[in-house]
Symmetry: C2
Subunit: 271 residues, 2 copies
């Protein structure tokens, strides 16, 4: 018997009716308060992937985090907005009581073997086994669900002078813990699995929250299968932190330098 992966347990949907599901938050993917944003992205994407009307594979996912999600039960309602010849558009809402806690749009696309071209190149990086596993996360919650090996920009939680602002740029290998063959669900989750860049720049925690996350999926099903459970080469960075809102970008590269996902988000920070 194969054990069910924590990500699949955590994002399990119970069908309540057409395009309406019940689900629960999971301690395995918990953050300081409520679930980690990647979990929310993954569970909302699953509602589209499991819908029998779905055509094609995910191309883009935008999640807007509208309100804190309390631990416990929630409902998901999916709506097929429009299905065309090449693309299909969905919106998906996560509700707790009367509150819309998150709202997502998902675009699926009919990928076809046409002209392709891959000019982008991954950064140079030693192989995973030559980069030590980062062990300085507080145990428990979502950070225990990822193995991260930083070649550059590992988190440094040691107190430092507040004028000592450092680079927000990280380069790392990342994979699920336990290992899990890559699919769109895990890639959606992983696209948010980067330490908040303000923590990296400042070396201290301040109240923050992801406001919106957009992830593009660049691989077809063959590219996803080819990746298997191997670590992804990831980069994360920020352009600016301005007036309480910062951006955050991520690139997730697979085997043979294949770009599998790019992601951008806006993070609210209090001070």
């Amino acid at each position: 018997m194969t054990a069910i992966h924590p990500l699949d347990l955590a994002t399990k949907l119970e069908r309540l009716g057409p395009a309406r599901y019940a689900a629960r938050t999971s301690g395995d993917y918990a953050n300081f308060s409520g679930p980690f944003g990647g979990f929310t992205a993954a569970v909302l994407l699953r509602a589209v992937l499991e819908d029998e009307r779905r055509i094609g594979t995910p191309v883009a996912l935008t999640v807007n985090y509208c309100a804190a999600i309390a631990e416990g039960a929630f409902e998901i309602v999916a709506r097929e907005v429009r299905t065309g010849k090449s693309t299909q558009h969905w919106t998906v809402e996560l509700r707790q009581g009367d509150t819309v806690a998150a709202i997502a749009s998902v675009v699926c696309g009919q990928r076809r073997a046409v002209w392709s071209h891959h000019p982008a190149e991954p950064p140079h990086m030693p192989p995973p086994e030559q980069v030590p596993v980062f062990t300085n996360f507080k145990p428990g919650g979502w950070t225990s669900r990822y193995e991260m090996r930083f070649a550059k920009g590992a988190p440094d939680w040691n107190p430092r002078d507040e004028r000592d602002i450092r680079s927000a740029h990280s380069v790392l290998w990342m994979r699920d813990v336990p290992a899990r063959p890559l699919d769109y669900i895990s890639l959606a989750c992983m696209s948010d699995a980067f330490v908040i860049r303000a923590f990296m720049a400042r070396g201290k925690f301040v109240p923050v929250g992801t406001v919106t996350l957009t992830t593009f999926f660049h691989g077809n099903e063959e590219a996803m299968s080819a990746q298997g459970a191997a670590p992804l080469l990831c980069t994360a960075d920020a352009h600016l932190f301005a007036d309480g809102f910062a951006d955050q970008t991520a690139h997730l590269w697979g085997q043979d330098g294949r770009l599998l996902a790019t992601s951008t988000q806006i993070v609210w920070y209090k001070e």
Copy 2:
């Protein structure tokens, strides 16, 4: 009397009821068929900006282009999904008859004078007056509404060998024609005003369409006013073209190297 700018004429909304508007496509912002995607982004954003319930300023805009928009009238319906202390979430639909032709999410944020930090730097670029205006667009439609001065990666429509694949990277100055003080509406529109990267790489036109566009606004109202009608320093690029879907990224920089917007999109291409 000050003449009304074509962008303001084109995105004019007639209020039909609470959060419900009538508008029309405009020849000034027309593309090969239907309006240029930047127009759609701008007119959907305007529906939020003009809503009396709006708090804060735009932080993020995602537009999903679901169906071709026919020339003529359309309706916009805005929905306030959730208003919190720091952010406000909206969805906005563009309808023609029974078809949802586009659906957008808009996040507004309460910007505050807190810790800020701007690590990103614009590329080096000669001043606008030293870079010639690009004059090789077919006259009419949306390209006539922008003045572009390419320092790198100007479009080259001369037929070339199909194995001659070139860089998708462009660096240019861009401003509205006629000149117009920058605001969130014009910035939303401009964030889609980059020639489709597949045309740049291949030097030929193929059927394409933007599927989804996400634009982040990084400036507060003071930063927007400070920009005035001066040209923006813009870069555009693509990571990959794969199986009929390509990505496209853009950075729009204002005075004194201030990043005003970043944008990512997915473009469907036929062949």
